[in-house]
C-alpha cells in the first residue's frame, strides 16, 4: 500500500515539473493549449497527492506499524479522532498535508483566474507548480511519511499526549493554511514581475487569498497560545520560543501587507513596498518552517531535528533570490505615480504602521537568530529569552495599537486641523476619563494602563465611526440607525469588516494587559481545610483516580467557594499517565469567569493517604479575552469577504466571453 502512495507522489512530482516548465513554452509559442495542459496537470497532481494522503490516513486508521511514521505518531489505544489527525501531527505527515493543500490551491488558482488574469496566469501556474516541485522533492528525498521500517512492532509510540488536545488538532493545519495561502499572492507577484505586468490587478485578485491566509495564521497563533495555556501548565501563553516566533514573523509582515495593499489600490502608491512585503512574508513562512524543522536554533519544542534542513535552506534561498532578482529587474515599472500630500493623512499612518510591523518582524528574526550570530562571530553560546522580546516588542506594539485608532479617524490625502480636533477630541477624553475610573478600582500598572487607555481610545473611535455612518445612512433612508448600520456594513464591507477585526485586536491587547495582574501562589492544602485565595476559598477533599480516554488521571479534588462560602465548582487538577509515555503529564483545571481565570496545577501529594497536596495556583485576569478575539476575527473576515471588487467582476465576465468567443 505504501508503495502505491510513494509512486503516486513520484508521478505527481513529474506532473508538477510539467506544470512548471510548460506554461513558459505556452506563452513563448503563444499556444494556449499547452497552458491548458498545465492546468490539467495540476488536477492530476492534486488527485495523486490526495491518493498518497489517503494511503497514509488509512495506515493510521488501521494502525499499520510497518510504516515508520504510523509507529512513531500513533498507537492502537489512541481514539480514532487522534489517529486520523496524526496525519499532520508529526514532521513528515505535516509536510504531506502541506503539499496536499498547496496542490489544491494550485489547482483552484489555475482554473479560477484563467480568464481574469490571462496575461500572467501561465506564470502563476508555473510558480505554484515550482513550489510544489520543491516540496515534493523535499518530501520524497528526506521526509517521506510512507517510508517502511524493517521490523514491525506490535504497538506504536503514540502521538505525544500533549498534542492530544483539540486546539492542537486545529492549530497546525490553520497555521499551514495561512502559510500556504500566502503562496498565492506571492505567485501572482512573481508572475507579474516575470511578465512585466504590474498594475493593481494582482493586488485586487489576491485580496481574498491574503485575507483568508491572514485569518488562518491568526487563528493558528491564537489556538497555539490557548493550547500552551491550557496544556503546558505554566500559566502563560506566549514564551517567545523560536517555534512561536516562526509563525509570528510572517503574521507581522502579512498584516503589514494586508494594510499597505489598500494604499496601492486607493492611491497607487507603495507598489515596490508591496512586492517586497509579499516576498518577505512568503520567505518568512519558509524561514519559519525551516527554523522549526532544521534544529539550527534551540527550542523547547521537540518538534525538530531532521535531515531536511539543508534542502529547506536551498528552497528558502531560491524563493528569496528569485523574488528580489525579479524585483530589481522590474523596479522602474513599480515607481509610484503619487506622492504623499500631507504629513497627517491616513496614508502616512499606514506607512508608519507598516514600518513598525516590519521592524517588529525584524526584531523577532534578530532575537531568534541572534544565538547563531553570536556563535558565528564570537564563538559563544547564548540564548535570548522573553525579556529581550518584551522590552522591544511591547512599546512597538503599543504604538501600533494607538495607530490603529488614529488610522480610523485620519482622512486619505489630508486631514484638516478642524477635522483632526473633532475626530480626536472625544475618543481621547473618553479614554482618559475611563482610565482614571479604572485606576480607582485596579492597582496602577503603567503598561497595563497604557493598554487600557489605548483600548478605550480605539474602541471609541471605531464606535463613533460606525455610529456616525449608520446615523447618516439611516437618515438618508428615513429609517432607524440599525437599518442604517446594516446598509453601511453592506456598502463598504471591507472597511467595516476591518474595524470589527480591530475590535478583536482590542480584546487581544486587553488579554495581554491582564497578564500584568496575574497572581501566582503555591498552596499546600490539608484535607477538608478551607484556604482563602484571591476572592475564593479552596477546600481539598481527597485524591481521585479515573480514566480519561486512553489515560489514567490522578486528580486532587478541590472545591472552590466564593466569599460567602457558597460552592462554585469542584475542580480536579490532575496528573495523567499514558500507557505509551514514561512520564506523567500535567492536566490543569481551569475555571473561566468573565473577568478572570482560576488556574490550578496539581504539583505533589504527601502522606500515606494523601492527606496533603501542593497546588500551584494562578489567578489570571482577562486572559480569556484574548481567545475571544478569534470569533470576532471570524465575524470581521466574514464581512470583508462578502466584498468583491466590482471592476474586476464585470471585467472578468467580459474577458471570459471574449476569450471563449475567440477560441470558438
Amino acid at each position: 500500500m505504501s508503495d502505491l502512495g510513494t509512486i503516486a507522489l513520484m508521478i505527481a512530482l513529474a506532473a508538477c515539473l510539467y506544470g512548471t516548465v510548460v506554461p513558459h513554452l505556452g506563452v513563448r509559442t503563444n499556444n494556449w493549449n499547452l497552458i491548458r495542459s498545465a492546468q490539467n496537470a495540476s488536477i492530476i497532481s492534486f488527485f495523486l497527492i490526495a491518493i498518497a494522503s489517503g494511503v497514509l490516513i488509512h495506515a493510521l486508521v488501521i494502525s499499520d506499524f510497518s510504516i515508520f511514521y504510523v509507529w512513531r505518531n500513533s498507537s492502537v489505544d489512541m481514539p480514532m479522532f487522534f489517529k486520523v489527525t496524526a496525519f499532520w501531527g508529526g514532521l513528515e505527515g505535516s509536510l504531506l498535508f502541506w503539499i496536499l493543500v498547496q496542490s489544491f490551491f494550485a489547482m483552484v488558482v489555475a482554473f479560477r483566474y484563467q480568464y481574469s488574469n490571462r496575461e500572467i496566469i501561465p506564470y502563476v501556474i508555473a510558480t505554484l507548480n515550482g513550489i510544489l516541485c520543491f516540496l515534493l522533492v523535499l518530501l520524497l528525498g528526506w521526509s517521506n511519511p510512507l517510508d517502511l521500517q524493517a521490523t514491525i512492532p506490535a504497538e506504536g509510540r503514540g502521538l505525544n499526549p500533549l498534542l492530544q488536545h483539540i486546539a492542537m488538532v486545529v492549530h497546525p493545519p490553520s497555521l499551514y493554511l495561512g502559510f500556504i495561502g500566502f503562496s498565492v499572492p506571492f505567485a501572482f507577484a512573481i508572475a507579474g514581475m516575470i511578465r512585466g505586468k504590474l498594475d493593481n490587478e494582482w493586488v485586487l485578485t489576491t485580496r481574498r487569498w491574503t485575507l483568508v491566509s491572514w485569518y488562518f495564521l491568526s487563528m493558528g497563533l491564537i489556538l497555539g497560545g490557548q493550547w500552551a495555556y491550557e496544556e503546558l501548565g505554566w500559566g502563560g501563553f506566549w514564551a517567545w520560543d523560536p517555534v512561536e516566533n516562526a509563525a509570528f514573523m510572517p503574521w507581522l509582515t502579512g498584516t503589514a501587507f494586508l494594510h499597505s495593499v489598500m494604499i496601492q489600490e486607493k492611491r497607487n502608491m507603495l507598489k515596490i513596498w508591496n512586492v517586497v512585503l509579499i516576498i518577505i512574508t512568503y520567505g518568512l513562512t519558509i524561514i519559519g518552517t525551516f527554523l522549526t524543522r532544521s534544529g539550527v536554533v534551540n527550542s523547547v519544542h521537540s518538534f525538530t531535528q531532521s535531515e531536511i534542513g539543508p534542502a529547506f535552506l536551498v528552497f528558502l534561498a531560491v524563493v528569496l533570490v528569485v523574488g528580489f532578482a525579479l524585483l530589481f529587474r522590474r523596479i522602474q515599472m513599480l515607481e509610484s505615480e503619487h506622492k504623499m500630500e500631507a504629513v497627517l493623512c491616513r496614508e502616512n499612518a499606514f506607512l508608519v504602521q507598516n514600518v513598525i510591523f516590519v521592524g517588529m518582524a525584524f526584531t523577532v528574526l534578530l532575537g531568534t537568530t541572534f544565538p547563531l550570530l553570536a556563535e558565528a562571530i564570537r564563538g559563544t553560546k547564548l540564548s535570548i529569552q522573553a525579556p529581550f522580546f518584551n522590552t522591544i516588542m511591547a512599546p512597538m506594539g503599543y504604538v501600533l495599537f494607538f495607530l490603529m485608532g488614529t488610522g480610523t479617524v485620519l482622512a486619505w490625502r489630508k486631514s484638516s486641523k478642524e477635522s483632526l480636533r473633532r475626530n480626536f477630541q472625544n475618543p481621547m477624553i473618553t479614554a482618559t476619563v475611563g482610565t482614571i475610573i479604572l485606576a480607582v478600582f485596579i492597582p496602577f500598572h503603567l503598561e497595563a494602563f497604557t493598554i487600557f487607555w489605548i483600548a478605550i481610545f480605539v474602541t471609541v473611535t471605531i464606535l463613533i465611526e460606525v455610529g456616525k455612518a449608520a446615523h447618516v445612512k439611516g437618515k438618508q433612508l428615513q429609517a432607524g440607525p440599525l437599518v442604517g448600520m446594516i446598509h453601511v456594513f453592506q456598502r463598504n464591507q471591507r472597511r467595516y469588516g476591518g474595524l470589527v477585526i480591530h475590535l478583536g485586536v482590542v480584546l487581544m491587547f486587553l488579554g495581554f494587559a491582564g497578564t500584568f495582574f496575574s497572581e501566582e501562589r503555591d498552596l499546600t492544602l490539608e484535607r477538608e481545610e478551607m484556604v482563602p485565595l484571591n476572592a475564593y476559598y479552596l477546600k481539598f477533599t481527597g485524591v481521585e483516580q479515573f480514566q480519561v480516554r486512553n489515560a489514567t488521571h490522578r486528580a486532587a479534588v478541590i472545591e472552590v467557594y466564593d466569599q460567602d462560602k457558597q460552592l462554585l465548582e469542584v475542580m480536579k487538577p490532575a496528573k495523567s499517565f499514558y500507557p505509551t509515555q514514561p512520564q506523567p503529564l500535567t492536566e490543569i483545571a481551569l475555571r473561566r469567569e468573565f473577568l478572570k481565570d482560576l488556574y490550578l496545577i496539581f504539583s505533589s501529594e504527601s502522606g500515606a493517604d494523601s492527606e496533603l497536596v501542593t497546588i500551584k495556583t494562578y489567578v489570571n485576569p482577562l486572559v480569556g479575552w484574548a481567545w475571544m478575539a478569534l470569533p470576532v476575527f471570524t465575524l470581521g473576515i466574514g464581512i470583508c469577504l462578502t466584498y468583491r471588487p466590482r471592476s474586476l467582476t464585470s471585467r472578468q465576465k467580459v474577458l471570459r466571453q471574449q476569450y471563449i468567443a475567440a477560441e470558438g
Binding site: 532544521s294 534544529g295 534551540n298 539543508p310 528558502l316 534561498a317 547563531l372 558565528a376 553560546k381 514514561p582
Partner: protein, 180 residues
C-alpha cells in the same frame, strides 16, 4: 541599479541570513558548555541499587570516572546502555580498573531502575539519586542522559548532553589516561 545602496543592502542581508542559517548546521544549539568544566566535580555519596553498599566520589581519585545520569523511562538511555556496559567491560572490570563507570538514576523508582539494569545486563555501579534530586542539581542536569568525564585529579573534563557514542568515550578516556 548596480550602484544603488538598496541593491547591495538587500543582497548582503539575504546572503548574510542564508549564510548564518548554513552555519547553523555546523553547530548544535543544545550543546551549551557546562560551567563545571575545568572545575572540581561536586562530591557525593551514592548507594548501590542492589546491595546498599555506598561509594563516595572523592574516594575514586587517581582514576578517571565516567559519570552517567540516566533514567529507566528515558529512550535515549536505552540506546546508549550497551555502549556504557561494553566500555565498563573493557576498562572497569579489569583486575585493577583503569576507569570507574558510575550510573546515577534520577527521577526514578528503585524497582524500575533495577528492571532497566537487568534488561540491559548492566554490571557497573548503579545508584539512585534521592527524591530531591540533589546530585542532579549539583551537576546542573537538565535532561537524561548526560555524561561527565572526570579526570584522575577529580576535575570535570567534558560533559556530553544526550547519548554517548563508543568513539566519544574512547577519545575522552584516551585523553584522560594520557594516551591521546
Amino acid at each position: 541599479m548596480w550602484k544603488s545602496w538598496k541593491f547591495w543592502t538587500v543582497w548582503a542581508t539575504l546572503g548574510g541570513l542564508i549564510g548564518l542559517f548554513a552555519f547553523g548546521f555546523t553547530t548544535d544549539p543544545k550543546k551549551v558548555p557546562s560551567p563545571l568544566i575545568g572545575h572540581e566535580a561536586p562530591n557525593f555519596q551514592l548507594v548501590n541499587l542492589w546491595n546498599g553498599e555506598s561509594v563516595e566520589l572523592s574516594a575514586l581519585r587517581g582514576k578517571p570516572v565516567v559519570l552517567n545520569f540516566w533514567a529507566s523511562w528515558c529512550v535515549e538511555c536505552q540506546q546508549e546502555a550497551h555502549i556504557l556496559e561494553a566500555f565498563h567491560k573493557r576498562y572497569g572490570e579489569t583486575v585493577s580498573p583503569q576507569v570507574h563507570v558510575i550510573g546515577v538514576a534520577i527521577q526514578d523508582k528503585s524497582e524500575q531502575a533495577q528492571a532497566f539494569a537487568r534488561q540491559f545486563n548492566k554490571t557497573y555501579f548503579l545508584g539512585l539519586d534521592n527524591t530531591n534530586g540533589d546530585i542532579a542539581l549539583e551537576y546542573g542536569i537538565y535532561g537524561v542522559p548526560e555524561t561527565f568525564f572526570i579526570d584522575p585529579q577529580g576535575k570535570i573534563r567534558f560533559k556530553q548532553i544526550g547519548g554517548v557514542s563508543a568513539e566519544l568515550m574512547q577519545e575522552q578516556v584516551d585523553e584522560m589516561l594520557g594516551q591521546g
